[in-house]
Assembly symmetry: C2
Homo-oligomer: 418 residues x 2
């Protein structure tokens, strides 16, 4: 199996001024293509440091992917450093570059820089921008240089992987992975169930990851024959679905909101959300999904009591007697938004995100989540223990998960737990 290292080039990353999301994208893409990422490194825009990082990578992996440093400015050092290190002079590439402005005189020098690649390297055209990518082989090492702009990087990486696959046909698909995302079961319980079952056959490996209440089980296996690996994975999936049941809401790229979206489509149902402590986060998550507008009707962020009373018609007495953070108010919010929107399902969320606003009776992290439908209103009392933004995410995910479970039962009363 090909071993790889990802090197991101950018002072802003090493200074912590931006979070490097390119590495995760490249790592995931390489893994899916059966490439074994061993290390990832970030380095300043400094030719000497980049040279040393490339030299170390050359010694420990077969494939080096760099990202960044391919722009037109003086700080963009990747081309020059690679050229110098591998003793391959920079030459103008002969590709036509539709994306590089040809006429602007002032851009001439920049354009020349953007067009140049180390002699002998393979050009990988950039369909979205001006910085071309390139791949080269030096001794035993394959080196691929991608730009840092995510959209451009994605496309050039994808183009490179087509070349890679053609070269490595025999080795392809030796490792396969599938991720199973769950909600509602603690990680230790999932690990206990996995340990007790017979999933770890056929070189199946599992690993759990947690994020905002979502526990992801990563299942992987490898085999010389793709079909064998996929069959092992299918068998493992059956076992996993048996022990985790409805806790699994999706695989691979499926988010919790996406799982709800699929159910809304399947059941031809619509939804509307009344949020207090989550402050619009549930609506935001829904509206990140293309095509949601046929199913998500509206959201109300009823932050003030006045908004709860005037827009959602929460009885003023409920707030006076039980407080804005109460079972009664959550239910009333869910019913209210359902009524005014005409949606099949209404969600109501009220709680204390923190850090202020807590008391002994109603501590920070206390959240009531209600969901209302044609002939039911359910409410769940939750207590989260994170900071403000983390509490918002846990509450939003809990609401989405309640909706998912309810939707899946609601219109198929015979579909019980497995």
């Amino acid at each position: 199996m090909t071993t790889a290292e990802i090197i991101t080039i950018g002072t802003e990353i090493v200074l912590g001024q931006i979070v490097d999301t390119n590495t995760a994208y490249i790592a995931e893409t390489l893994t899916k293509n059966g490439i074994h990422v061993l290390f990832t490194t970030s380095v300043r825009d400094d030719a000497e440091l980049l040279k040393s990082a490339l030299n170390i990578a050359k010694e420990r992996v077969q494939l080096i992917i760099t990202t960044g440093g391919l722009g037109p400015t003086e700080n963009d050092i990747t081309r020059e450093t690679v050229s110098h290190l591998f003793n391959m002079p920079l030459i103008p590439s002969s590709e036509p570059y539709a994306n590089i402005p040809q006429c602007a005189d002032t851009l001439h020098e920049s354009a020349m820089k953007l067009k140049s690649i180390p002699a002998g390297a393979l050009v990988i055209p950039n369909e979205h921008g001006t910085a071309i990518g390139f791949a080269l082989k030096h001794e035993q090492t394959d080196l691929v240089c991608l730009p840092g702009v995510p959209r451009e990087m994605h496309q050039i990486l994808s183009s490179y992987l087509k070349i890679y696959k053609a070269q490595h046909l025999a080795e392809e698909y030796r490792i396969v992975t599938r991720q199973f995302h769950t909600f509602g079961m603690p990680e230790f319980e999932i690990n206990k169930l996995i340990k007790e079952c017979d999933i770890h056959r056929n070189s199946i490996k599992t690993m759990t990851l947690v994020h905002d209440g979502i526990v992801t089980v990563n299942v992987s296996t490898s085999s010389l024959i793709k079909e064998d690996a996929l069959q092992s994975l299918d068998t493992a999936e059956k076992t996993l679905r048996k022990i985790l049941g409805q806790a699994i809401f999706g695989t691979d790229d499926t988010s919790l909101e996406h799982a709800v979206f699929e159910l809304l489509k399947e059941k031809n149902a619509t939804i509307a959300v009344a949020e207090s402590c989550t402050g619009g986060l549930v609506s935001d998550k829904f509206t990140n999904i293309p095509g949601i507008s046929d199913y998500f009707l509206e959201g109300i962020v009823a932050y003030s009591n006045k908004a709860k009373i005037n827009i959602l018609h929460v009885p003023e007495d409920y707030i006076k007697i039980h407080g804005a953070v109460s079972e009664q108010v959550a239910k009333s919010m869910a019913k209210g938004i359902r009524k005014i929107s005409g949606a099949t399902i209404g969600i109501g969320i009220t709680g204390i995100a923190g850090p202020g606003g807590g008391s002994d009776q109603k501590p920070v992290g206390l959240v009531y989540i209600a969901i209302a439908g044609d002939n039911f209103t359910e409410v769940k009392k939750c207590r989260f223990h994170g900071a403000r933004i983390s509490n918002k995410h846990f509450a939003a995910n809990t609401a989405l998960n309640m909706t998912r479970l309810k939707l899946s039962q609601l219109f198929n009363p015979h579909q019980g737990k497995s």
Copy 2:
């Protein structure tokens, strides 16, 4: 100046299953404390790979910070690897660990593991969890091991830096940085203005970064004497404020929504938001700020036309004649939300986030943003060119920036542009 490398330990990072945010946090914190981060590395939960990464780091930096691999499971290899590599046997530390369950028999082995550190290392207690951190010196290298859970890592890093500062008193503050966040001016124009002015004196360095329309100018300088460095920075700040004027909305940790929040407090004004294409993102951004509830009254995510008409009282004719994505509807949404909430300022946003829904007349990325107040309603037509989520963020930031500029003028009519 101390040079440093950050090593994050976790197979999930190298597989790209999670985005590593710890590195950015640690890098930024170290930089602020005058430590010069040269490299960051991520490595699988594999003792041999971690050993090789530690050996390389030892040769190229003075301070190594690791994060992750300090939990109780078999995959947590940091303690054992460090112990083996530096020949420092693991011993139970004598610190009392309130956070480790002492009574649970089944947890005994885990607890023992969590308590152990390499002999000679300094314990750094964990106030939020069970995994303690530790620091040790081996030959010329300082090594600090932090857990991977962000909240725990933050606290232990902060504890370590107190120790570090006490040790490095003389060297402290040799580098100082300040970030200036701007909105509304393109990056190339900012760079042009910076190049033309006389900011680059007293070893002042500048660098620009872009994120969702926000252009950040990072200004740094170094000096043997802290006061000298700060004075250079103050002089640079004056120059920068002169050339960038109102485009600067904040420094360092200030977000755009935070800048609006500060103005709302200063002017004793309240705000409410009616969103269509941004889908709750503006409300979500506001409600991430602790204490916003006195100023942010409510948000309506009027995704459907029905919601725009029924809740926000947008005249049905406007939608029929001009379309839901139009200047008229944006203004009407801003006025509507202002009226029903009673807020000082109302924001209305309507547009096409994409990927679907566009036409020749109204392409994807077309967004109208309106803001309404006591005696004004303003609207801005924008065209963004990203994917769906990116368009949402650009639109949300543009709305926040319009609000900021309006708020700063509104109650101080004599405060013009500089």
